[in-house]
């Protein structure tokens, strides 16, 4: 029982990180029908910048409480990622809005490669450990262990998602975003400045991505310039699982994927009599994805993309 609960907790933690990143993918997809391949790199930059900031603080013997240093790092990392998201859209996607569907996908891959290389030039190719600044208190939760960090990740993720939903559903900006997602041309005719809405979408998604990046780094105690690829892939899978373009879907998909992965790596060995070990957990994630899509071709919650004739 406690192992089961433990896996659920671990799954929820990693799942809420996936969800935050998946939101970035799904928002962009909802508005532009574009897989923003470079989103994983934005997440990575968030993590790397934060680690660097904290290291600078520690190096200069500025001793603040751990969480405060983390916040200081985030204050630096979020604008960097937002700027990156903004720049990527302006440089690599906006000129291609009327191009064949695959052209922006290729520039996205190009941007992703460039960002990886730039990061690797700045920070080197090796793993960067996450500075040891956070309290490592472990709580007992019905027989399972849960750390302060894990609690913080889950709470922060919930707060951010709540804020995002509030913005999308209740504010002028959010209404304009929804209108643009439904039909950019009509939204444009109605006086919505589509370009700035698309920019805002990228910026918002990137900010969430930066926070998620820090969460990944803190959760796994490390970050490196090539981490964006796999985490981005997982998050995109989560977005598709939930129904791409659908915000609630991204959250559901992220958490589902996190829990499935976690349970998979915990029980796969037992379930298959040792034939498949935890090294197959990624297979599990993809198999679930394929099965879900075969039976529900537009994801768990269905997509919210208006079909265009």
């Amino acid at each position: 029982m406690d192992i089961f609960l433990q896996q659920i907790i671990n799954g929820l933690v990693i799942g809420s990180i996936y969800a935050l990143i998946a939101l970035g993918y799904t928002m962009v997809y909802g508005i532009m029908q574009l897989i923003n391949f470079a989103h994983g790199e934005i997440v990575m930059f968030g993590a790397m910048v934060t680690i660097t900031c904290i290291n600078v603080l520690v190096g200069n013997h500025i001793s603040l409480p751990g969480p405060l240093m983390l916040v200081a790092g985030l204050v630096m990392a979020i604008p960097v990622s937002m700027l990156l998201g903004f720049a990527i859209e302006r440089i690599a996607y906006r000129p291609l809005r009327r191009a064949p569907r695959l052209a922006p996908l290729i520039t996205a891959i190009g941007v992703s490669i460039v960002l990886q290389q730039v990061a690797s030039l700045i920070w080197g190719r090796s793993y960067r450990p996450f500075p040891n600044i956070l309290p490592q208190t472990v709580h007992n939760f019905f027989g399972a262990a849960i750390t302060d960090l894990q609690v913080a990740i889950i709470i922060l993720a919930i707060v951010l998602m709540g804020a995002l939903f509030f913005m999308i559903e209740r504010t002028r900006l959010g209404r304009a975003m929804r209108a643009t997602a439904q039909n950019p041309e009509v939204a444009g005719l109605m006086g919505v400045n589509i370009n700035s809405i698309i920019s805002m979408t990228f910026v918002t998604g990137s900010a969430l991505g930066a926070v998620a990046g820090v969460m990944v780094a803190a959760n796994y105690d490390q970050a490196h310039p090539y981490m964006g690829f796999l985490i981005g892939l997982k998050a995109f899978t989560a977005a598709v699982l939930g129904g791409i373009g659908n915000l609630q879907g991204a959250v559901l998909g992220g958490i589902t994927l996190g829990i499935i992965e976690s349970l998979g790596s915990g029980y796969l060995g037992d379930l298959t009599g040792g034939f498949l070990g935890s090294n197959y957990k990624d297979i599990f994630a993809f198999l679930v994805l394929i099965l879900v899509l075969v039976f529900r071709p537009s994801g768990l919650l269905g997509e919210r993309v208006a079909e265009r004739a």
């Binding site: 997809y29 029908q33 897989i35 440089i91 690599a92 000129p95 291609l96 191009a99 064949p100 569907r101 695959l102 052209a103 922006p104 996908l105 290729i106 520039t107 891959i109 190009g110 941007v111 992703s112 490669i113 460039v114 990886q116 290389q117 730039v118 690797s120 030039l121 690829f229 892939l233 995109f236 899978t237 598709v240 791409i244 040792g274 034939f275 498949l276 070990g277 090294n279 197959y280 990624d282 297979i283 994630a285 993809f286 198999l287 994805l289 394929i290 899509l293 075969v294 071709p297 537009s298 994801g299």
Partner: protein, 383 residues
């Protein structure tokens, strides 16, 4: 790209003839020019393999319009298939008559195996739309790779992350590609032999693809890409025709995989990562989706340019700044990524697009005429 001098069939024939002659003597030319010729011929051998892969993917993405992000899986299936039958890996358990089958039979088996995997993947998933199909194929590619990475337990089939070593080189009748062959007074090094072998298969695939392009099947593929509902309404069995594209593309991948395994002498999961799938896709799109010549150009550029950069970057840095400023490996990939972005921004239709795509992106005068006519129509109807 316009080749004004290739207007008449006669001129085309001559150009083709010259091109063929160049290809035939290419390794010798390189051998005479470079001291490190063999490594360059190796690069070209790989470029030829990539051309085959890119042409296979072009059937799926370029012709039928199905975005496949896990294409490398079929390459992997072909390569592992070849390696398992032609290496000591399973010698202990495999009956002797199954080991080291004749090369051509092996190629067919690898192609068929990949084809079966293509059908297995395609049957449940081809009804998915665009990007969903992309992510499912991506997942499939990863599944195959993870299996290859882990099928060393409980029974050691793939030898896990170490991969399968000692894959026997091609043996043809009484010849083996393990050591140089003397023929007509010329000494053919193994890289040369593989060059001609892979070139032959490459030509075969180019031939098959170009025949398919202008055929009933090829038209059906393009029709599905253009408008699936209309294709359906015209009586095309879209599911089967898509599946056919998938199977054809997969078998090309399988054949290239077999050649890769025999040429490299060793296969490991590292050669079949997602980035490889993406690179092959880049070749197709950068070169010019749907256009065979464009796809070949894309494959050559994407596979050869990074190798040239590898050789050029260090001397260049030394010359410009007197020392190594930037890690060459990083700089190489950085330039590569930038080139991808710039090419797409400047030529979104690819470097050498098909006639159709060009028309789509660079509307000729006829479209503006038509738009005017459309306006007049509207005025007439409403006025």
């Amino acid at each position: 790209m316009h080749f004004a001098f290739l207007k008449t069939p006669r001129q085309r024939q001559i150009a083709l003839f010259i091109f063929a002659a160049v290809l035939l003597v290419l390794p010798w030319g390189l051998g005479a020019t470079f001291s490190s010729a063999n490594s360059w011929i190796r690069v070209i051998d790989f470029a030829l393999l990539y051309i085959m892969l890119a042409l296979g993917l072009n059937i799926v993405v370029g012709f039928a319009g199905l975005l496949d992000l896990g294409y490398i899986a079929f390459y992997a299936v072909g390569a592992y298939m070849y390696a398992i039958f032609n290496s000591p890996q399973l010698q202990a358990v495999m009956p002797t008559w199954l080991q080291h089958p004749p090369f051509l039979i092996m190629i067919v088996i690898c192609g068929l195996a990949a084809c079966v995997f293509g059908i297995l993947l395609g049957t449940p998933t081809l009804k998915l739309r665009g990007d969903y199909l992309a992510i499912v194929t991506l997942g499939f590619g990863e599944i195959i790779r993870i299996f290859m990475n882990n099928l060393d337990r409980p029974i050691n089939i793939t030898n896990g992350p170490q991969g399968i070593d000692n894959v026997a080189p091609v043996h043809f009748f009484n010849y083996t590609f393990a050591k140089p062959i003397d023929f007509l007074g010329l000494r053919f090094e193994p890289v040369y032999l593989y060059y001609y072998l892979i070139l032959a298969f490459c030509c075969l695939i180019i031939f098959v693809t170009s025949r398919l392009q202008y055929s009933r099947i090829g038209r059906a593929w393009v029709a599905i890409r253009e408008d699936e509902i209309a294709a359906n309404a015209m009586g095309i069995n879209t599911r089967n025709v898509k599946l056919l594209a998938f199977a054809m593309g997969a078998s090309f991948g399988g054949v290239s995989g077999a050649l890769f395994a025999s040429f490299q002498g060793f296969v490991s999961p590292e050669s079949f990562v997602l980035m490889e799938s993406i690179m092959v896709l880049c070749m197709v799109v950068l070169g010019g989706m749907g256009n065979i010549a464009g796809v070949i150009l894309g494959a050559i550029l994407v596979s050869v340019v990074p190798e040239i950069l590898r050789d050029v970057i260090n001397p260049l840095q030394q010359g410009l700044f007197g020392r190594k400023i930037i890690d060459p490996e990083n700089l190489r990939m950085l330039l590569f990524g930038l080139a991808m972005i710039i090419i797409m921004l400047v030529r979104p239709e690819g470097l050498w697009p098909s006639r159709r795509r060009r028309a789509e992106l660079h509307p000729s005068a006829t479209i503006s005429e038509q738009e005017n006519a459309g306006l007049q129509d509207a005025e007439r109807t409403h006025g």
